[in-house]
């Protein structure tokens, strides 16, 4: 009995050590990442091109521009131009006509962190990591999809936006504070609340909101790739 059990144990421990050992950041940087030419300090492991077709980026241009006037079909926003990722670069060549005011800034050079190519279980794990070790993610360019939510302070009229990323169990959704571009006017330029959006943005943190060592991440330089209709 002891012999087979010890052999089994040794085998499992070997696997354990090989999985845990090493510097994961180094391991990640060895990942082939043709789509990511990020100049950020530490490349993240999801730099690989998506093997799935990007259904949300298409040459089709919707005539309906205002979110408040949204028709039932999905509206595609060609705000990202050219260089978002090598994998969908060809598709973006068709997307030359701007149909919605974008952030007004340069389109992001590369997406460091593409949550849209991950399963919902993986998304939860990665978003949890972002929340627990935010400093590793600040400055990265992220693509994600989730539910767009808007809240307007009744007294001050201040509008707060966020994107809720759902997890596999649908119980532990996590949200990001979203900073909308200055020239976006509420509500005309905003996506409908509870609509599914795909965005590309830069991760930043507001250190004034740090509480008990927990840093709140927010998304800036936001560009909408896709805006769905509200339920």
């Amino acid at each position: 009995m002891k012999r087979p059990m010890i052999l089994l144990l040794v085998g499992i421990l070997f696997l354990t050590c090989s999985a845990c050992g090493g510097n994961e950041k180094n391991a990640q940087s060895k990942e082939p990442s043709p789509s990511s030419i990020s100049q950020q300090s530490e490349p993240l492991p999801m730099d690989q091109p998506s093997s799935e077709p990007e259904a949300t980026i298409s040459p089709r241009v919707s005539s309906s521009l205002s979110p408040s006037q949204g028709d039932n079909s999905t509206r595609d926003i060609q705000a990202l131009q050219g260089t978002a990722s090598a994998s969908n670069g060809d598709k973006k060549k068709h997307s030359v006509e701007k149909t919605k005011p974008d952030s007004g800034k340069e389109a992001p050079a590369a997406v460091d962190l593409d949550l849209t190519t991950l399963s919902s279980t993986m998304v939860y794990g990665e978003v949890f990591n972002m929340m627990s070790t935010p400093d590793d993610y600040i400055g990265k360019i992220i693509r994600l999809n989730g539910l767009f939510t808007v809240y307007q302070e009744p007294e001050t009229g201040q509008v707060y936006c966020g994107v809720i990323v759902q997890d596999a169990a649908a119980c532990c959704a996590q949200g990001f504070d979203v900073v909308m571009p200055d020239h976006f006017r509420y509500p005309d330029d905003y996506p409908p609340t509870q609509s599914e959006v795909t965005i590309v943005a830069t991760i930043q943190a507001d250190r004034t909101l740090e509480y008990l060592g927990i840093l709140t991440l927010r998304l800036e330089d936001i560009t909408f790739e896709h805006i769905g209709t509200a339920p």
């Binding site: 059990m5 993986m122 794990g125 949890f128």
Partner: protein, 281 residues
Amino acid sequence: MALLIEKLAQYWSYPFVRYALVVGVLVALCSSLLGVTLVLKRFSFIGDGLSHVAFGAMSVASVLNLTNDMPLVMGITVLCAILLLGTGRNARINGDAAMAMFSVGALAVGYLIMNVFSTSANLTGDVCTTLFGSTSILTLTKTKVWMCVALSVVVVLLYIFFYHKIFAVTFDESFASATGIRAKEYNLILAVVTAVVIVMAMNLVGSLLISALVIFPAMAAMRLFKSFRTVTIFAAVFSVFCATAGILTSILAGTPVGATIVTADILLFALCTLVGWLRRR
């Protein structure tokens, strides 16, 4: 298929996926080893009872804002395991009644404490994660992984070195005592080891699904094999296989980890039952 392999290779580069697989495999191994003994001793439901106790302890730890809740949760669960398993059949409240009391009592008190004192903004999420594991296996830190590795080594070594004594105590405690084996002490070791495994397994499948890790692999192996040794070995193999398959499936398909592992266990049990039935015919 190539797409799946490519996807798996991509996911493998994430440290939390590797940690999940390591912990999942180790927890599955330990729980299946204990499972054979617990099922044969008719303590199949101990996993459920102790995991509810661990849930209660975890809620206390979260209310106290403990950054590392493991010592408190482990301590309370081990204590309850000793009370439940270590006292044997001489206790004033017999085994299954005591287990039921601990189980529902801890669950109710834990939820009550979380509701009344919790400062978390997402109480439902916290409870859901603790009860079903959901995706907490993907949020392990490196420290927790190494702790799990160390505890698993201890559990497996204890099982290997005390195998013959555990075998004797499992089948006939009275006979074991008569032959000079200190059955009470081995029951105590079993109780402590069970509690350790339960606390580790809470990360993997959550407190409501732990019993599945204990029972299904042992029962599946019992459908095919008869001797204690082969049943133990194959229970371990089945459990490790199901945990690996479950974790990989869940990260690929985006399903909850714990529920997927348990579903894999159920399917394997059904398959073993079918094979066993065909062999007997």
